[in-house]
């Protein structure tokens, strides 16, 4: 059963990764990042039960906290960028290049 959870976690993680790569809307990209974090959390929780140790749950908890902080800052940045550039596309912010 544990393996199933882990495979699900890997699947969700990969889907989130693909989403980060193919979507251009910064907010959706952000959501995909959250999806990846959640997939990780699932793996942590699964390993916690597998190993009979609460540390996995604990780290999942910390991941949530950090993710919350990250979302706050990330969204603030998106809003700021949108305010100046009138666009939430990550491809539009491509000035830092060759």
């Amino acid at each position: 059963m544990t393996t199933h959870y882990l495979v699900l976690s890997a699947l969700l993680f990969a889907i989130g990764g693909v989403g980060v790569l193919v979507r251009r809307n910064a907010i959706v990209v952000f959501m995909c990042v959250e999806l990846m974090l959640n997939a990780c959390n699932l793996a942590f929780v699964t390993f916690a039960r597998q190993n009979g140790n609460l540390d996995g749950q604990l780290i999942a908890f910390f991941v949530m906290i950090v993710a919350a902080a990250e979302v706050v800052i990330g969204l603030a940045i998106i809003v700021t960028i949108f305010r100046t550039r009138r666009s939430a596309s990550v491809d539009d912010a491509s000035l830092l290049k060759y």
């Binding site: 790569l21 491809d91 491509s94 290049k97 060759y98």
Partner: protein, 632 residues
């Protein structure tokens, strides 16, 4: 008879022999450093120093005659150049004092002559400074008691020669000739240096007394090597084959320079070197053979070149080459030839200087025209020059009872005894000498006037003719004085050794008569072609042989083909390699990095998704690697 021991000496004129070198050196220093302030009296100071040097030489000679023949080698210590290695001292012996007398006497005369010859040259002071420098260096060369000091003098005369050939450096031809002389001399100097190194490696000393006294102890192979290397040096300095090419071009210098340096003294330094290093050559038969072959080859080559030249100075230069060839031939024969070599050297110094100065006098009168085809019939206009030149001419072709008759016939007889082939070649050379010298005299002083319309020939002033007269007197009597009764051979014996049996003088030997006959034929042929017949103003095309001789036997072409062209190719190759290879490597590297960077920077698209993709793929690769490694 072996050379005598060297006796350390001080006091008297010999003790002050260093003054011979110092006086002209001071003269040169004053004239060069004093600048234009010395313009007024520069020529007088130069003459004074040369004459003073001659006085010291004459006094030393007188003092030397006072000693018994076995005690006539006098060494003078000056200072220690390299402690424990090289002491610098002077060696006054019959050989060196003969050279000193020749150099200072002829040198003084030419100094005096130059006062008149260079009267209108704005740089006359500088000319006399260089002349004094030359006299000092030449005296150091012959007075040195070791090879290092000899080499210093050797280079000093080379420098003076360079400066004087290029004295009219505003003429490109003169500048080029000076460079040519310098470079060809460097080749010879390189050989001399290697020879000196080999001497030091073999004998661990460079003093003549130690080296030559112990020469018999060294192996014949070493002596051969040393002898050949010294011969290379001698060839460079004395314009012997194959380093002869510079001498003809050296005639670009003022005529007194040609007379003093390139006829009477400097070019004979090679003969001096061979005679001075006699014991080395006597221990190496191969080296001696090479010396004689070089001598004969050069005497023929010089004579052939002399037949084709229309430039009076170049014809004389060819003759100089030829006569030095005789001396080298004699020097290569061994002790029996040394006296004849040096005697011919001294008499040649007189009559050739006489002729060169005479040629200078002619040029002076003909607006510096050197082409003999534009001379003719000058004997009436310039009687003094003509008569003195005629004496020099008769001396060089070996007219009986004049200098050349005694000394050159002596050389031919010695060579004949040594090797019949060499001897007969020398006889043929004498015949050619008779032809080309007669040609020169007939073209210049006889026949019809072929002057340029602007030429107004006149006799030269006394300051120029008096030296001519003195030199022609020497050309008349010196040969008889030196050779009769083996006087000179006896005198030189303490310095260079002498054969057990003194050669007797045979006035009517077969070679002597043959020489006279050939010379007469040559002179008669010259009279037919250039005296009686009309001389065309423009040189006729001539046969292949004529062209061959006119082009200096293709010596320059050979040098160009052998050394200059390959050198140029090498240089071009190096330039090409540098441009394409080295620079190409560096530039290619830079361009490669630049180009790669230019393409690589396209990776930086600025799209955050591209970067994320690379991170993601990298993570995937890492995960794969983790799996692979984990399962190993």
């Amino acid at each position: 008879m072996e050379p005598a021991e060297i006796i350390q000496h001080s006091g008297g004129a010999i003790g002050a022999a260093w003054l011979m070198i110092a006086l002209p050196l001071v003269g040169a220093a004053v004239l060069l450093l004093g600048g234009r302030r010395t313009d007024k009296f520069g020529h007088l100071l130069g003459v004074l120093m040369a004459v003073a040097s001659f006085v010291v030489a004459a006094l030393s000679f007188a003092q030397l005659l006072g000693f018994a023949p076995g005690e006539r080698r006098r060494g003078i210590e000056l200072y220690e150049f390299i402690p424990g290695l090289a002491k610098v001292g002077l060696l006054v012996d019959p050989l060196s004092i003969s050279f000193c007398l020749l150099i200072t006497f002829v040198g003084s005369l030419i100094h005096i002559y130059s006062i008149g010859y260079m009267a209108h040259d704005p740089n006359r002071r500088r000319f006399f400074a260089y002349l004094n420098l030359f006299v000092a260096a030449m005296l150091l060369l012959v007075l040195a008691d070791n090879y290092v000091a000899l080499f210093v003098g050797w280079e000093g005369v080379g420098l003076a020669s360079y400066l004087l050939i290029g004295f009219w450096q505003h003429k490109p031809s003169a500048a080029t000739a000076a460079k040519k002389a310098f470079i060809v001399n460097r080749v010879g100097d390189f050989g001399l240096l290697l020879g000196i190194f080999t001497i030091f490696a073999t004998f661990h000393t460079l003093a003549f007394s130690d080296v030559l006294g112990n020469a018999s102890k060294a192996s014949s192979g070493t002596l051969t090597a040393i002898g050949l290397l010294l011969l290379v040096g001698a060839c460079g300095k004395s314009a012997q084959l194959p380093l002869q090419s510079w001498l003809l071009d050296a005639m670009e210098g003022p005529t007194p320079v040609s007379a003093l340096i390139h006829a009477a003294t400097m070019v004979t330094a090679g003969v001096y070197l061979i005679v001075r290093s006699g014991p080395i050559f006597q221990g190496a038969e191969t080296a001696q053979l090479v010396v004689t072959i070089v001598g004969v080859a050069t005497l023929l080559a010089g004579a052939i070149i002399g037949t084709a030249k229309d430039d009076i100075k170049k014809a004389l230069a060819g003759s100089t080459m030829s006569q030095i060839g005789y001396m080298v031939l004699a020097a290569g024969v061994g002790p029996v030839g040394y006296a004849f070599a040096i005697a011919h050297l001294i008499t040649h110094g007189f009559f050739k200087a006489d002729m060169f100065l005479g040629a200078g006098s002619v040029m002076h009168a003909m607006n510096d025209e050197v082409d003999m085809r534009k001379y003719g019939a000058l004997r009436k206009v310039m009687p003094l020059t003509f008569w003195t030149f005629l004496i020099g001419y008769l001396a060089i072709i070996g007219f009986p009872l004049l200098s050349g008759y005694f000394t050159k016939d002596g050389i031919i007889e010695v060579a004949m005894e040594h090797n019949a082939i060499l001897g007969w070649l020398a006889v043929i050379g004498a015949g050619i000498t008779g032809f080309y010298m007669s040609r020169l005299v007939f073209m210049t002083f006889f026949g019809a006037k072929r002057w340029e319309p602007t030429a107004h020939p006149h006799e030269s002033p006394a300051v120029m003719t008096v030296p001519l007269i003195v030199l022609s007197i020497g050309a008349i009597v010196l040969g008889w004085f030196l050779i009769m009764g083996n006087r000179f051979m006896t005198f030189l014996a303490p310095a260079v050794g002498a054969p057990e049996e003194m050669p007797a003088f045979h006035p009517f030997s077969v070679p002597g008569l043959a020489t006279l006959a050939l010379v007469a034929i040559g002179a008669a042929y010259a009279w037919m072609k250039y005296g009686r017949a009309e001389v065309p103003a423009v040189a006729p095309r001539g046969s292949f042989l004529t062209t061959f001789a006119r082009r200096d036997l293709y010596g320059d072409a050979l040098n160009e083909a052998l050394f200059m062209r390959p050198g140029q190719w090498l240089t071009r190759l190096a330039v090409f390699f540098d441009n394409r290879g080295v620079d190409g490597l560096v530039n290619g590297l830079a361009a490669g990095i630049g180009g790669t960077s230019g393409r690589l920077r396209r990776v930086q698209t600025g799209f955050v998704r591209s970067y994320a993709l690379s991170i993601f793929l990298g993570a995937a690769v890492l995960a794969g690697a983790w799996l692979v490694v984990g399962n190993l």
